[in-house]
């Protein structure tokens, strides 16, 4: 089976006042179909930037310097080069085929729109034809069932509406609906699509186990608790059944018990929807809970990629080992990593971890180690192997 996402030689740089920040350096990584891939690392390791690079949403003054990101499009059995896609094609992928959940659910939701509005927007953006189809069907049943005087009066209007929706359903860029959509007052005549989107939204909210979904749909973000907001954000990301769900520290701002609920939800999503998940976290415990494979990043580079069992039982890279030893575990002496995180402005030459590495060799300060497969599926970038 083809990999869903294949990242090759990706480099992201930030051109700031102080100098160039090497946020991601020559990253090679693939996300397989139906797997949960975790990226773990500390602050500034480039986890979030990797995610944003896939969506091509690197914020100013950052730039994708080079590399390629291939997205396997099942429907046409072809790989798309995301970095070379036209802007409107890329937009039709965002939120539709690849979607993202952010760390702060409070910040990720627009405070002046209701939860329902914000989720419906996704349907209205990417599922126009389907919505029009549903609206048409509803009108069909109205036309056939509608009795009485009121229905008699409305019948011609329904017929007209049905024709418009039919056009949208067949060809989303037909002239008449487009014209209607442009005119300020007439835009309202297309309300049935918004209505259908609302219905789908409520289903979506139920799907992420929000109790009382219909009521939550008309509420504003500030009326919900952190956990509920995160569920709503997840519902928004799942709305169009994406092939890849990117979750950027989705549980960091939540309490432990809510985090457990959320992790359960992610596990279920993977099973039910068959989506791949790119799960970014700094919490090794969380990574071991949900991921199938884990990638460890340090200062913009990949150190090690391995299946989760391998990674936590037989870590190879000195940084991975040190990181695991730094996690407080009962009955175990806490070990610290000497020194401070590599400076992203002036990264050390060679392997970026070598100044802190207990088993550094002369070569580590001169040459960076390439990622190589040491056992099946276990890749490490270290001169020791």
């Amino acid at each position: 089976m083809k990999d869903l996402i294949k990242i090759r030689d990706l480099a992201v740089r930030f051109y700031t006042y102080e100098g160039i920040v090497y946020a991601i350096d020559d990253l090679d990584l693939e996300i397989r179909q139906g797997e949960t891939l975790g990226i773990v690392g500390e602050t500034g390791s480039g986890k979030t930037m990797t995610a944003l690079a896939i969506l091509r949403l690197i914020p100013y003054p950052g730039k994708i310097e080079s590399g390629s990101i291939l997205f396997f499009d099942k429907s046409i059995d072809q790989e798309l080069e995301l970095l070379k896609l036209r802007d409107d094609r890329m937009r039709s992928i965002r939120g539709n085929r690849i979607s993202m959940v952010f760390q702060e659910p409070g910040a990720a939701l627009n405070p002046v729109y209701t939860i329902g509005d914000q989720i419906s927007e996704v349907f209205l953006l990417h599922r126009r034809r389907e919505l029009a189809q549903r609206a048409k069907q509803r009108l069909d049943s109205l036309l056939s069932d509608g009795n009485g005087l009121a229905a008699g009066v409305k019948r011609p209007f329904w017929g007209w509406q049905r024709r418009i929706y039919d056009k949208i359903a067949k060809e989303s860029h037909a002239f008449e609906p487009r014209l209607l959509g442009r005119l300020p007052l007439f835009r309202r005549l297309l309300w049935r699509m918004g209505y259908e989107a609302k219905l789908l939204t409520v289903d979506m909210l139920k799907d992420v186990e929000i109790p009382d979904a219909a009521r939550v749909a008309v509420q504003y973000p500030h009326q919900l608790s952190g956990g509920m907001k995160q569920r709503a954000v997840i519902a928004m990301a799942l709305a169009c059944s994406p092939e890849l769900l990117i979750a950027d520290e989705p549980t960091t701002s939540l309490d432990v018990t809510i985090q457990a609920q959320m992790l359960e939800l992610f596990r279920r999503i993977k099973v039910d929807k068959g989506a791949s998940i790119l799960f970014i976290t700094h919490n090794l415990g969380v990574a071991s809970e949900v991921c199938d494979r884990v990638a460890v990043m340090y200062a913009g580079r990949l150190c090690e990629v391995a299946p989760v069992g391998e990674m936590f039982v037989h870590p190879l890279h000195p940084y991975t080992k040190a990181l695991l030893n730094a996690v407080p575990m009962p009955g175990k002496k806490l070990e610290t990593i000497p020194g401070v995180l590599a400076d992203a402005l002036n990264p050390p030459p060679g392997c970026r971890f070598h100044p802190r590495c207990p088993s550094a060799m002369p070569i580590c300060g001169q040459e960076r180690a390439k990622l190589k497969e040491v056992s099946k599926d276990h890749m490490v970038a270290c001169h020791l192997y």
Binding site: E42, T257, V327, P330, L334, T336
Partner: protein, 348 residues
């Protein structure tokens, strides 16, 4: 081991203002009757989720905030406490009782008495990015307590500050810098140095590592361990991460919605928790060990608002063992084995 800090039935309520006249229309019961004893030399871990009142407890214990009711004794002999309790139980509001309370109960302190307490008890805040004055050089920040309490001055103060900084792992060459020139971990070291300046006996930590990376967190925890041994300190350590509490603390108290629901030694709490909440909290904690992945209990629902806590046991709406009794009566902390207390009618 004798008790250094003894908290008795501590309550802290915050008014909710509302209506036309901004009058209190309700109370957020951040602390709703907490009793806790911290022994000299102990590292007590206080765990709980956000909104359970753990930060309020820390700030009330070192008297940044004034409690609504209850007693806080700091280094008070047991006889005195017993005497106060006896006088109180007699229901008399005599001058003797008032005198004793004014002399011994931190909750009544103000002015000079409070200032002298400040030398003995300190707080380290959660976020090192906000707890240091951005317009003050490091030497002034760390030296501030020395100046406030007129402990040392001039050259002696300067060398004391230098020593403190070196003790927490910073170099003396960084004295003239401002906080923004330091990383999060370094800032937290500075905050710790500041707390140590007056040679206190007791330090409360309010999630000191939650804003830091894993590797830095380990450095800070090891530093705290060393400092405790070196200066014979007593710690109240607040955290929401159970793994930290389990691996570094000597004694653990679990809080839920303004109350302590269980306390005991870490081995007991983690291996045989007796309160359903502690159990599910432990079960919910992710551990970096894929083999422990099975058999999670996912606790349903969310923590209720402390402004409107459920009647009876506050945990009952989320508890699978809840009975009618739980819905009406609030359980008190009861010993289940030596040094292990649970507030539950149906302990596990």
């Amino acid at each position: 081991m004798d008790t250094l800090v003894d908290i008795k039935k501590l309550k802290k309520h915050f008014p909710i203002l509302g209506g036309v006249f901004r009058r209190p229309v309700g109370m957020v019961k951040a602390l709703d009757g907490v009793s806790l004893a911290i022994r000299r030399g102990q590292w007590l871990g206080l765990v709980g989720e956000s909104g359970c009142g753990k930060t309020t407890l820390a700030k009330t214990v070192i008297r940044l905030w004034k409690p609504t009711s209850g007693h806080i004794y700091f280094d008070v002999p047991d006889e005195t406490k017993a005497l106060i309790e006896e006088l109180e139980s007699q229901g008399k509001n005599g001058s003797k009782l008032n005198y004793l309370l004014n002399e011994n109960d931190l909750a009544t302190f103000s002015g000079n008495r409070l200032r002298s307490l400040r030398r003995r008890a300190q707080l380290v805040h959660q976020d090192p990015f906000t707890s240091l004055d951005p317009r003050m050089k490091i030497k002034s920040t760390v030296g501030e307590p020395l100046r406030i309490h007129h402990v040392l001055s001039g050259e002696a103060a300067r060398s004391a500050v230098k020593e403190l900084l070196e003790r927490v792992g910073l170099s003396a060459g960084q004295l003239e810098r401002y906080p923004h020139q330091f990383s999060g971990g370094q800032r937290q070291r500075i905050a710790i140095a500041r707390a140590l300046a007056t040679k206190p006996e007791f330090i409360a930590f309010d999630e000191p590592t939650s804003a830091l990376d894993v590797s830095v967190q380990a450095q800070i925890l090891n530093l705290l361990k060393d400092l405790k041994k070196e200066f014979g300190l007593t710690y109240l350590y607040i955290t929401h991460e159970l793994l930290i509490a389990e691996s570094v603390c000597d004694y653990i108290a679990v809080m839920y919605l303004g109350k302590v629901v269980e306390m005991g030694r870490p081995e007991e709490i983690f291996h045989s928790p007796r309160h359903p909440y502690s159990q599910s909290l432990i079960a919910a904690t992710p551990v970096p060990d894929p083999s422990r992945r099975v058999g999670r209990i996912v606790l349903p629902g969310e923590v209720p608002s402390p402004a409107n806590p459920p009647p009876g046991c506050a945990f009952h709406p989320r508890c699978s063992r809840a009975s009618d009794e739980c819905r009406e009566l609030a359980p008190e902390l009861r010993p289940v084995s030596s040094d292990h207390y649970v507030a539950c009618f149906h302990p596990l």
